[in-house]
C-alpha cells in the first residue's frame, strides 16, 4: 500500500528535489515527535488495559485491578493519552502548513508535552491506587486538572496565536476547526473541574455540568480536531477541491453552535429538570445539520472522479475516509438514539459505549492514523519500514473497530430490550450478554495487534531517521 500507490513513490514523502525539511517543519519536528511517541505509547497501554478489562468482566479481579479502576484508567489514557497527544501533534503541524507559522518557542511546546504526560501518568496511577472520582473522564484526582489545563495551553494554544498573526487574509476550514477546538477545550475543562470537583454545584447539577463537559471534550475538541484533519487531507491527497467547499463555513458554525447543546440528551430520565433533557434532544437533532454538510463535503468529494478508489489506494486516505464515514454514522445514530423512546431502551447499556467508540475510535483515531501516515515520512525523511505492517494495521484496526462497535451496539440494544420486560430477570440478561464479553475480548486482541503493528512501524521509522548513518542513505 505504502510502496505501490500511483505515483510509484510513497505518498507524503517530500519530492526528490526537496530533500531537506522546510524550516517550518524542522522547528516542529522535536515537539511533534515527542507528542506522537507519547501518544503511541499510551495507545498501547490503553489497548492492554482494554484487554484486561474485557477479561475482568468475566470475574477476575484484585484490589488494584478492580474493573472500575481498569476501565477508568483505560478510558482516560485512551482519550487524554492517545487522542490528545496525537491531536496536539497533528494540529501543530496543520497550523504550520496552513498558516506558514513558525514555531519559535518549540521548547515551550515540549515543556507542555512533558507536563501533560507526567500529570497523566500520576493521574492514572492514582486511579489504580483508588484515588478517583465518580465522573467519567474526570476520574483523575482533582489536583491533576489545573496542571493538565496549563499543559494544554502550552501545547495547544499555538494555532490560535498563529491564526491571529497570519500574514494573509485567506483562511481554510481546517484552521477554523483547529482554532475552535483548541479554544473550547481548556475553557470547558476548567469550568467542569470547578463545578464538578473543586466547588461542586448543587446535587444533580454536577451531572448536567459533566454531560456538557463530555460533549465539549468528545465532539468539539476531538471531533473538531479530526474534522480539521479531514478537511485538510482529503483535498490535499486527492489533489482536488472539496465539493461544496462554500458550505464548510456553515458546517463549522453549526457544528460549534449545536454540539454544546447535545450533552444532556445523555441524561434522559435522570433526576434533572425535564426541559434540560429536552434541550439535549433538540440539540442532537440540530447537530445533524453539521453532520449532513460535512457528509456533502467529504462524501461528495470522494464520490466524484473515482475518488473512493483513489482513496482506497492511498494509505492516508484509506484511514481518513473510513473516519469520515464513521463521523456521518455517529451523527445519525446520535440523533436517532437521543429520542426518548429509543433512548429508554439503550440507556445504561453497552450501547452508549459503542456510540462513543464510533466517535473516538472509528472516526478520530482512524483519522489520526491516516494523518500519521502522511506526516511522519515528511518529518523523519524516511520510509515506513514495512508495507506488510501497514496492511496489518489497517485490517486489524478496521475489523477490530467495526467488530467491537457493532458488538456493543447490538448487545446494548438486545439487553435493553430484555430489561424493558420486568419478567426477564437480571441474571437472564447477564447470561444473554455473556457473548459480549467473549466478543469484546476477541476484538480487543485484534485492536492490540493493529496498534503493535503501527507502533513497530512508526518507531522503526523514527529510530532509523535519527540514527547518524541516515544522512548518506539511498533508497
Amino acid at each position: 500500500m505504502t510502496q505501490d500507490n500511483r505515483s510509484g513513490r510513497p505518498q507524503g514523502r517530500p519530492s526528490p528535489g526537496d530533500s531537506r525539511l522546510s524550516r517550518v517543519e524542522a522547528q516542529l519536528r522535536g515537539p511533534f515527535l515527542l507528542f506522537f511517541v507519547s501518544a503511541v505509547i499510551w495507545l498501547l497501554v490503553a489497548s492492554v488495559l482494554g484487554l484486561v478489562s474485557a477479561q475482568l468482566l468475566r470475574g477476575v479481579s484484585g484490589e488494584v485491578f478492580t474493573y472500575g479502576h481498569v476501565s477508568a484508567a483505560q478510558h482516560n489514557l485512551f482519550i487524554y493519552g492517545w487522542a490528545f497527544n496525537a491531536f496536539f501533534a497533528i494540529n501543530l503541524w496543520l497550523t504550520s502548513q496552513l498558516g506558514r507559522f513558525e514555531l519559535r518557542n518549540a521548547w515551550l511546546v515540549s515543556l507542555g508535552a512533558i507536563i501533560w504526560n507526567v500529570a497523566l501518568t500520576y493521574g492514572a496511577l492514582s486511579i489504580f491506587a483508588g484515588d478517583l472520582n465518580g465522573f467519567s473522564l474526570l476520574e483523575m484526582p482533582r489536583t491533576v486538572g489545573p496542571v493538565l489545563a496549563v499543559a494544554f495551553l502550552l501545547s495547544a494554544f499555538w494555532p490560535i496565536v498563529a491564526y491571529a498573526q497570519r500574514p494573509t487574509g485567506h483562511s481554510f476550514a481546517s484552521q477554523w476547526f483547529v482554532v475552535g477546538a483548541s479554544f473550547v477545550f481548556p475553557l470547558a475543562y476548567l469550568l467542569a473541574q470547578l463545578l464538578v470537583l473543586w466547588n461542586p454545584a448543587s446535587g444533580v447539577v454536577q451531572a448536567i455540568a459533566h454531560s456538557w463537559f463530555i460533549q465539549n471534550l468528545l465532539l468539539l475538541w476531538l471531533g473538531g480536531s479530526a474534522l480539521a484533519a479531514v478537511y485538510y487531507f482529503l483535498p490535499k491527497v486527492l489533489g482536488r477541491n472539496i465539493t461544496g467547499y462554500y458550505l464548510a463555513s456553515v458546517a463549522f458554525w453549526t457544528f460549534f453552535l449545536f454540539a454544546g447543546w447535545t450533552g444532556t440528551a445523555s441524561l434522559l430520565g435522570s433526576p434533572i429538570p425535564v426541559w434540560v433533557q429536552s434541550v439535549g434532544v433538540v440539540g442532537s437533532a440540530m447537530f445533524l445539520v453539521s453532520v449532513i454538510i460535512t457528509a456533502i463535503n467529504f462524501h461528495g468529494t470522494l464520490s466524484t472522479q473515482s475518488g473512493w478508489s483513489l482513496a482506497w489506494n492511498s494509505t492516508t486516505l484509506r484511514f481518513i475516509s473510513f473516519g469520515a464515514v464513521a463521523f456521518t454514522l455517529y451523527g445519525v445514530l446520535n440523533a436517532i438514539f437521543s429520542f426518548r423512546g429509543f433512548n429508554a431502551v439503550v440507556r445504561f447499556t453497552s450501547f452508549s459505549a459503542g456510540q462513543e467508540q464510533l466517535l473516538t475510535y472509528a472516526f478520530a483515531s482512524m483519522v489520526i492514523f491516516g494523518a500519521a501516515y502522511f506526516i511522519l515520512p515528511r518529518l523523519t525523511g524516511s520510509l515506513w519500514p514495512s508495507a506488510k505492517l501497514v496492511h496489518l494495521h489497517f485490517w486489524a484496526t478496521a475489523i477490530g473497530a467495526l467488530g467491537s462497535i457493532s458488538a456493543s451496539l447490538a448487545v446494548g440494544w438486545q439487553s435493553g430490550k430484555q430489561l424493558a420486560d420486568p419478567a426477564v430477570s437480571y441474571a437472564q440478561v447477564l447470561t444473554a450478554s455473556a457473548g459480549l464479553a467473549s466478543a469484546s475480548l476477541l476484538f480487543a486482541i485484534l485492536l492490540l495487534v493493529g496498534h503493535v503493528a503501527f507502533a513497530l512501524n512508526a518507531f522503526g521509522m523514527i529510530l532509523k531517521s535519527s540514527a547518524p548513518a541516515a544522512e548518506g542513505r539511498h533508497d
Partner: protein
C-alpha cells in the same frame, strides 16, 4: 471567516451560551433545594446518613463500583426501572441534595442501587420486639456482605480479618453505605403511592 476576533468571539459564545442556559439556570432552579418533610412537621428527607455510611461512600468511589452500578430510578414512561423494582417512584433532584459528589452513574452492568437499602432491609410492617429487630439487622447485613463479594472479585475486602467472624472496616463501612441507599419516602416532587 477572515477576522480572527470574530471567530474567537463566535466560538466563545457557542461555549458560553449552553453553559449559561443549561448550567447556570439549573443551578438557579435547583440550587436551593433542601430536605423536605413527607408531611407537615414530619421528619426531613433525604435523611442525613450515619458517619459509617459516609465513610462507606468513599470506599464505594475508591473501588470503582460506579463503573457497573447507577443510582437513579427513571420515571415509568422512560424505561422499566420502576417495573423492575429499582424503586417505587422516580428519583428526583431533591434526593441528592445532601451528597457532595453525586454518584448517579451512567452504566448498568449490575442492577441500580438507588434503593438497595430499601430492598434488602424493607421498613418493618408493624411493631417489632428488640430481638426481632436485631435478627432483621443481622439478616440484612449478611445479605449485603454476600452481595459485596461479587463472586471472588471483592473478597479482598474481607481478607484482612483472618480470625474474626465479622467483616473488617472497609466492608463494614461499605455495607452501612449500601444500607443507607433508599428513596422510599415521599418527596414534594414525587409522592409515593400508598
Amino acid at each position: 471567516m477572515t477576522n480572527p476576533k470574530l471567530l474567537i468571539a463566535g466560538v466563545f459564545l457557542t461555549v458560553a451560551l449552553p453553559f449559561g442556559a443549561l448550567l447556570l439556570s439549573s443551578q438557579v432552579q435547583l440550587g436551593d433545594l433542601a430536605p423536605a418533610p413527607e408531611e407537615e412537621g414530619g421528619a426531613l428527607y433525604p435523611a442525613t446518613v450515619p458517619g459509617l455510611a459516609v465513610q462507606g461512600r468513599d470506599v464505594y468511589v475508591s473501588l470503582g463500583c460506579i463503573a457497573c452500578h447507577t443510582q437513579q430510578v427513571r420515571p415509568s414512561g422512560q424505561g422499566s426501572d420502576i417495573a423492575r423494582g429499582y424503586g417505587d417512584r422516580p428519583s428526583v433532584a431533591r434526593d441528592y441534595v445532601l451528597q457532595s459528589h453525586v454518584l448517579l452513574g451512567d452504566r448498568r452492568i449490575g442492577p441500580d442501587l438507588a434503593n438497595y437499602g430499601a430492598r434488602v432491609a424493607p421498613a418493618p410492617k408493624g411493631a417489632q420486639t428488640e430481638p426481632e429487630k436485631a435478627a432483621t439487622i443481622t439478616k440484612s447485613l449478611a445479605a449485603v456482605h454476600a452481595a459485596i463479594h461479587h463472586g471472588n472479585a471483592f473478597a479482598f475486602l474481607y481478607e484482612a480479618d483472618a480470625k474474626g467472624d465479622f467483616a473488617p472496616e472497609r466492608a463494614d463501612a461499605l455495607a452501612a453505605y449500601l444500607l443507607s441507599l433508599r428513596q422510599d419516602y415521599s418527596s414534594p416532587e414525587a409522592k409515593l403511592k400508598k
